[in-house]
């Protein structure tokens, strides 16, 4: 259908990775500076949407053979699991834990269970957006 989108396609190939890297960066720094799972997830889906615009649905499905519904489910499992996991330590539902841990290369790092929860949000956001876009876009 499209014939002269060579510029878009070439740019996409480069920009895609930048956006995805940026979204991962944003996701991890969320607890301290602007960002987080929600925005990170949206950015990633934005990257995939860009890919969809540049190429067609079929090609994208070949490049990223992801079942987005499973992705959503995994995300929910992460979020719900982190929340329920607190119960095993005799604290109320959704209590987060954090602490500073010494890691070999990274040095003193603070780790949060909130990040796992946020990862769940990330996955759900990507999964949901892409499910919606794919089903509506794929509907002939």
């Amino acid at each position: 259908m499209k014939t002269n989108d060579i510029i878009l396609q070439t740019t996409t190939k480069v920009v895609l990775f930048i956006i995805i890297l940026f979204s991962i960066f944003i996701f991890f720094r969320g607890h301290y500076t602007p960002g987080g799972g929600f925005v990170g997830g949206l950015l990633t889906s934005g990257a995939i949407v860009l890919l969809l615009l540049a190429f067609d649905m079929k090609t994208v499905a070949e490049i990223l053979p992801i079942n987005y519904i499973y992705m959503t489910a995994t995300g929910l499992l992460f979020a719900g699991g982190t929340a329920a996991g607190a119960l095993f330590f005799n604290v109320p539902f959704l209590t987060h834990a954090f602490g500073d841990v010494y890691l070999p290369i990274l040095g003193e790092t603070s780790l949060h269970t909130a990040t796992i929860f946020d990862l769940g949000v990330f996955l759900v956001v990507v999964g949901v957006t892409m499910t919606i876009i794919q089903t509506i876009g794929g509907d002939e």
Binding site: S45, A79, V128, T135, D139
Partner: protein
């Protein structure tokens, strides 16, 4: 979290693993992975047999509302937990041989079964009524899935729906009862409520609460007139029937009545209702079982009747709690009989269901008109059937005989009660009980002799009958041997299981439980002899009087009432729905927005909420004015845009400008989110572009335009008014300061927005993403179903 809680949720945890195990180990029957869990749980619960005092373990859940996950083990809950896990193990073992691993979707089956097992354990072990209710509805829901397991059969779907509608209706009524109890006592914990009860029995809400609880219990335990769902639920695979309808789910109602007895039994109404409905159900079930031709239907009606029997015994036993001055031990004996029969029923009915399953599995039919003479082909199954049915009929030396004698004894004692006209009307109890027992004897005999003796008709069977594989026989053999063991040595149960259970139902009971096999020439014994004599007579002359059943008008059955009201509700709601749902999203938006305007405007007018306070406004800068102008210009141009593409882009530009506002106000998080959302939604819009209908002629009409104009002005005005008032009405201090202070202290984060999202208001986020996922699934199914399944449905 204690080991006890873990025991309750372990089936749910295993249920998560089952699909994975099923996919990974296709060549191994998934049942083998499931089997260890109930066995493990059974042995775990066995370890509680020697406890003297109830054990309570609590995990806070919503302490603020008085809802905590309290697991309590006392005699009654232990008895049920043992039944659930014990019969559960046998059922799983049986199902391994019953369900073929090549043909059936075993993953879903065992997920449902485990969900059900966990839910049942939760029901019997929770001391908190709200938690109990949660698990209670979980049993309704998982049994719905189990009954509808063969969902390609229309009857399965019908049965599943019926059981769901009736039991969930009862469950909701029970929730009402729970709330009423809470209003009266201020507690959801059963143990606490029991202590307060004497003070509240005169409360005006006491009787409504009692009725609500009874409806819940009666629907679950298939008591008349709610029993109609149980025969239809027989469309489930036989292991499910054996589990749900002999041992566990239908007994949840019994459990509830037993559990709540100390709360309600002081009220005379409880006595009458429980005993009355029980005895009616007993008779009606046994009377109807005789006319059934499907083996499983006979068992279904038999279960209904036996549940009625246990229920009536609990009702009579409640007399001991009602009075102070009477001979308590007599009525305690009725409760003993109830508990004892509960165990006996689980053993013999469980084995009978499995026997019927074997017959069905090996011959391909369950119709007694086609069966006959199977004795020679299936000697072991025949023996098991004999043991089960004779116990059900109340014949010595099986355990059913003992509990039936105790049942008669309990019914005879009704006459001694000199309250609520029990001394006169009470005479009906032993008479109906005796008659019902005759029919019980009759259908038991039909079940075994029409199937296993008589003429063998190979031409009517789908398969050539032969003995079942040994694996399928193990479970019924174990149950049948329990039938004999409990019959010959009933006292191995009495002190360890029955007495603690009675103590839970009747706190402070000291009566010694002793069940003797031979108890002299008592009226009960003569009643049994009478049952056998009349039963044999009726069995022989069955063809002659069977026409009695045809006399019953077919139009007057409860099933017709159920179907009729269901159809009525459907047609009414269809009419109502089609009157306002015309399929155009524009119309729906008109409804939504007019509702929005009316509700908000009237609230503001009634509450006099509009206020404008300009004292606290910050100055407006150059950039703000610029951005506002941009938004206004963009939104107005949308109105005049001729092509859709232009409108979409203009709408996008409004969104982008809003995100610039966020930048201006130094909210980078919001700005970032808004930007990305805007991008994606514009992309989504463009995708939908293809599907949008052509501009309709409607848009040209003045009336259409005027409606839109009115609504848009209304919405705009309301939103402005609310924004102004929200700024001016400061009823509380801002919560912002709390977050500023605690973000780093409590959550070790520096980004407040993110900490609020994942920590302080994590529940919001969790539910938001759940809602999002449901929305995505909804869109997915709607579009995919339209593409794939739609045509199929249209053809119907």
């Amino acid at each position: 979290m204690s080991l006890l809680h873990l025991a309750i949720i372990s089936p749910f945890l295993l249920a998560i693993l089952v699909p994975i195990l099923y996919k990974t180990f296709r060549q191994i029957h998934t049942g083998w992975f499931v089997l260890p869990l109930p066995i493990l749980l059974f042995s775990y619960f066995l370890s509680f047999l020697s406890i003297q005092e109830p054990i309570t373990k609590s995990v806070p859940w919503i302490p603020f509302l008085g809802i905590d996950f309290i697991a309590k083990i006392d005699g009654l809950s232990l008895l049920f937990a043992l039944l659930i896990t014990g019969i559960g193990s046998l059922v799983v073992l049986y199902s391994v041989y019953y369900l073929s691993k090549d043909k059936e979707k075993l993953n879903t089956f065992y997920v449902y079964l485990l969900l059900f097992m966990g839910a049942m354990l939760g029901v019997v072990l929770s001391d908190n009524l709200i938690v109990l209710y949660m698990f209670w509805e979980f049993t309704s829901f998982s049994s719905f899935l189990l009954i509808g397991y063969w969902y390609h059969k229309e009857k399965s779907r019908y049965g599943a729906q019926k059981s769901m509608i009736i039991t969930v209706f009862g469950g909701l009524s029970m929730l009402g009862g729970i709330i009423l109890l809470y209003i009266m006592t201020g507690s959801f914990n059963i143990s606490e409520i029991m202590e307060i009860v004497p003070a509240i029995s005169d409360h005006t809400l006491f009787i409504p609460a009692l009725l609500c609880f009874l409806i819940g219990a009666f629907t679950k335990s298939a008591q008349f007139p709610f029993h109609i769902w149980l025969p239809d639920a027989m469309e489930a695979p036989t292991p499910v029937s054996a589990y749900l309808h002999s041992a566990t789910m239908v007994k949840a109602g019994i459990y509830l009545v037993a559990r709540m007895s100390p709360v309600f039994a002081a009220e005379g109404l409880w006595l009458w209702l429980v005993a009355g409905f029980g005895i009616v159900t007993l008779f009606w079930g046994s009377f109807n079982a005789v006319k059934q031709t499907d083996l499983k239907a006979i068992l279904a009606y038999s279960t209904i009747s036996q549940l009625g029997m246990i229920m009536s015994l609990l009702g009579i036993g409640a007399a001991a709690l009602h009075f102070d001055g009477i001979e308590k031990s007599v009525y305690a004996a009725a409760i003993t009989a109830a508990v004892f029969h509960l165990i006996n029923h689980a053993t013999f009915k469980g084995s009978l269901f499995m026997v019927v399953g074997i017959v069905d599995h090996e011959t391909g039919t369950r119709d007694i008109r086609k069966l006959g003479g199977l004795m020679n082909f299936m000697p072991i199954t025949f023996t098991l059937a004999i043991i089960g049915t004779f116990s059900m009929a109340g014949l010595p030396p099986f355990n059913g005989f003992l509990s039936k004698e105790m049942f008669f004894a309990g019914m005879l004692h009704v006459l001694d009660l000199d309250i609520f006209s029990f001394e006169t009307w009470g005479l009906l109890f032993p008479v109906i009980a005796w008659l019902a027992s005759v029919f019980t004897f009759l259908y038991s005999m039909i079940l075994v002799f029409k199937t296993f003796t008589g003429k063998f008709q190979p031409e009517k069977l789908e398969k050539k009958p032969h003995e079942a594989p040994i694996g399928m026989l193990i479970s019924p053999i174990i149950l049948a041997s329990l039938v004999i063991i409990f019959g010959l040595f009933p006292n191995i149960l009495s002190n360890r299981m029955i007495a603690p259970a009675i103590n839970a139902i009747m706190p402070g009971n000291t009566a010694d439980v002793h069940i003797s096999f031979w108890h002299g020439f008592t009226p009960e014994l003569f009643m049994t002899i009478g049952v056998i004599a009349l039963g044999i007579l009726l069995f022989i002359s069955l063809p002659k009087w069977r026409k009695v059943y045809d006399l019953f008008p077919k139009k007057l059955t409860l099933n017709r009432l159920y179907d009729g009201s269901l159809e009525f509700a459907q047609s009414i709601s269809k009419q109502f729905t089609s009157s306002y749902m015309n399929g155009s999203i524009r119309t729906y938006l008109v409804y939504i927005f007019s509702f929005f305007i009316v509700i908000l405007a009237s609230t503001i007018a009634v509450k006099d909420a509009f206020k404008m306070d300009t004292s606290n406004i910050s100055s407006v800068g150059f950039y703000e004015i610029l951005l506002s102008l941009a938004i206004v210009v963009a939104s107005i141009s949308i109105l005049f845009a001729k092509s859709r593409l232009t409108s979409i882009i203009l709408l996008g530009s409004v969104g982008y400008t809003v995100s610039l506002f966020f930048v201006l106000f130094r909210a980078p998080d919001l700005a970032l989110t808004q930007l990305v959302i805007e991008t994606i939604s514009v992309a989504l819009f463009l995708l939908c572009f293809y599907h949008l209908p052509k501009n309709s002629k409607n848009e040209e009409r003045i009336r259409f335009k005027m409606t839109n104009l009115l609504i848009s002005i209304g919405v705009g005005a309301i939103v402005t008014v609310i924004a102004l008032s929200a700024h001016s009405n400061k009823m509380f201090d801002s919560i912002a300061q709390y977050y500023v202070e605690n973000t780093y202290e409590k959550a070790a984060g520096k980004n407040m927005v993110n900490v609020i999202l994942v920590d302080f208001r994590g529940f919001d986020t969790l539910f938001e993403i759940t809602v999002l996922s449901i929305a995505a699934l909804g869109i997915f199914t709607m579009i995919k179903l339209k593409m794939n399944g739609g045509r199929k449905n249209e053809n119907k």
